[in-house]
């Protein structure tokens, strides 16, 4: 059985990508399962989707714990624990990462010897990002080596039928490009072994005594505990205030930031809370003197590192 796991952010089309891959495998005569993890798909938040494919009946259910292929639409998710990109990785797991860094860099960084294939990021334009799904599916089809171009094309047409011919054509084009690009790695994904119920080990249960409702019912006594959640990891773009240009207006940025991520100090100067800013870029669009700039999170991280090195040396 093939077990494939997609990782992306809400809005990057990984749910659709998993459906296209599932349909393509179905057209090739496989029995398939494709499903996103149930939950609300929030723009920017880490999401995942699964595909299982086999020539026999699939009895396995639920999340994929031992993936044969992991597809990562956005490499900034890899260091995010909540995204669980590397969860359950085994020796033969292949990683397909949408990233400008090389395979060797990722092997080194993650300290793994698994096969890694990268697809260079073509754009930072968020309107184009919706085609990442097609690119990933195209590449994955070739890596599996069991999906013909014709089935891939048909699956895109079936799954995107409602979006109209223009969008379908663009997706097919992107998928084909990626299909060609990874040709040297054709058929590099192998099937994982059978997991039988007999080998299933029950978790270590902890027995909880029955408690009265006032003890066992969950209560939160502190206020605004959501601040403990680091939504800064959702961001792919970073807003940066140029304090020379900021005229300390009436906090347009702070009022319009939906996430309360811009506070204003006593002198009227705004500060962005990068642990929580989700990178919507409303502040950039609304600042009257255009004092807030946009840089990619990758570039920002590189700059941070440089600064760190300067201060330590």
């Amino acid at each position: 059985m093939y077990r494939i796991r997609f990782h992306g952010r809400g809005g990057q089309g990984m749910k659709t990508a998993s459906r296209i891959l599932g349909t393509a495998l179905f057209l090739e005569g496989y029995e398939i399962q494709d499903a996103p993890r149930y939950g609300a798909e929030r723009r920017g938040a880490p999401i995942f989707a699964y595909v299982r494919a086999d020539k026999k009946t699939i009895n396995e259910r639920g999340i994929i714990t031992r993936p044969d292929l992991i597809i990562v639409a956005d490499d900034s998710l890899i260091p995010v624990p909540a995204a669980g990109v590397l969860a359950g990785i085994v020796e033969h797991t292949v990683l397909l990462i949408n990233s400008d860094e090389s395979e060797q860099t990722w092997q080194h960084r993650l300290n793994i010897r698994n096969k890694i294939i990268t697809l260079p990021v073509e754009t930072e334009d968020r309107a184009e990002l919706r085609f990442i799904g097609a690119t990933c599916t195209g590449a994955a089809s070739r890596l599996l080596g069991i999906i013909s171009l014709a089935s891939l094309e048909q699956a895109i047409k079936d799954e995107l039928a409602e979006l109209g011919p223009q969008i379908i054509d663009k997706n097919i084009h992107k998928a084909k490009q990626a299909y060609e690009k990874v040709a040297p790695n054709e058929n590099c994904v192998s099937q994982g072994s059978e997991i039988t119920a007999g080998k299933y080990l029950p978790p270590d249960w902890i027995d909880l005594p029955f408690e009265a409702a006032h003890i066992s019912a969950p209560n939160v006594w502190a206020s605004a505990t959501s601040m403990k959640v680091n939504t800064g990891v959702w961001r792919t773009l970073r807003p940066i205030i140029d304090y020379e240009r900021c005229n300390k207006c009436w906090w347009v940025c702070s009022t319009f930031c939906p996430d309360s991520a811009i506070t204003v100090d006593e002198s009227g100067q705004p500060h962005i809370d990068y642990d929580h800013c989700k990178g919507c870029m409303i502040c950039v669009a609304q600042c009257p003197p255009h004092a807030i700039e946009t840089i990619s999170e990758q570039e920002a991280a590189a700059q941070d590192k440089l600064k760190e090195e300067e201060t330590t040396s």
């Binding site: 929030r42 939160v220 605004a224 702070s254 930031c257 939906p258 996430d259 990178g279």
Partner: protein, 308 residues
Amino acid sequence: MSEVPMTRYKSLKHMPSTRLLGTGTPMCAGCGGLGALHEIYDILGEKTVFVNAAGCMTLMSVYPFTPFRGSWLYTAMASAPAGAQGIRDALDILIEKKRISKAEDLQVVVLTGDGSAYGMGLSATSGTMERDLDYLYICYDNEGYGNTGQQFSAATPHAAKTSTSMGPRGFSGFKKDLFAIWAAHKPAYVATVIGSEPVDLARKIEKAMQMKGPRMIIALSPCPTGWDYDPKETVEIGKLAVKTGVWPLKEYINGEIIHTKIPRQRQPVEEYLKLQGRFKHLFEPQRNETLISKLQNKIDTYWENIES
């Protein structure tokens, strides 16, 4: 009816500069509903208890996390106003029995999406107005069932594409006039607001807070996920909703309807439509002149009646 005193919120510079709503919520980046909620909460203050019906905002308070500074009750989609009745009654009893002081009293605030407010919860809401329940209702109207993948609701505008109206003409129904339905009950206050007009919003919430009885607020909430646009456009789309006359800012008070911002020289509605993927089929592959002018005419007719 008591006189409403002068507003504290004369212009943007009088707006609160501190933020009460916690960061770290699971709402989408650029969520217009969250934007409106944080502006409203800054005015309302901490002495509030929220009653929420299932929807996007339900995920904000999931144990052990909450962005609020007070309590939160989660109810089924149709029942938030009934939940508010229960909490109001409980607070009144506690005060009467002197178990809490009057100073410890809380504002009971219902928070629901349009799926609840315009549809499933309408009957329960009608009941609260009939009983003159003392509470505030905030509907964040993202014009669809956002949390479950933007199916159409009774608030979806004509021609919009949703996951259950995918055809070339989009949604065949028309947005229900909830403002008129609510106002017909003659509650203490009904108002429309939008996060992109923070001063208008602040004044209305301030006014509502000084009243007793049912006070009903509908906040149009641009939704990057459901309306399909880049999250940075949320405020711009909100401003255009007002400038094109799509979203009239108004209030019902003492039996009268007052428009709080009349867009002089209304911009063509397509300026608003064109920024949103859910209306893309009106422009591509060919421009659908018939549908666009149908939408424009509806807006023109509305405002002709107001302006004359």
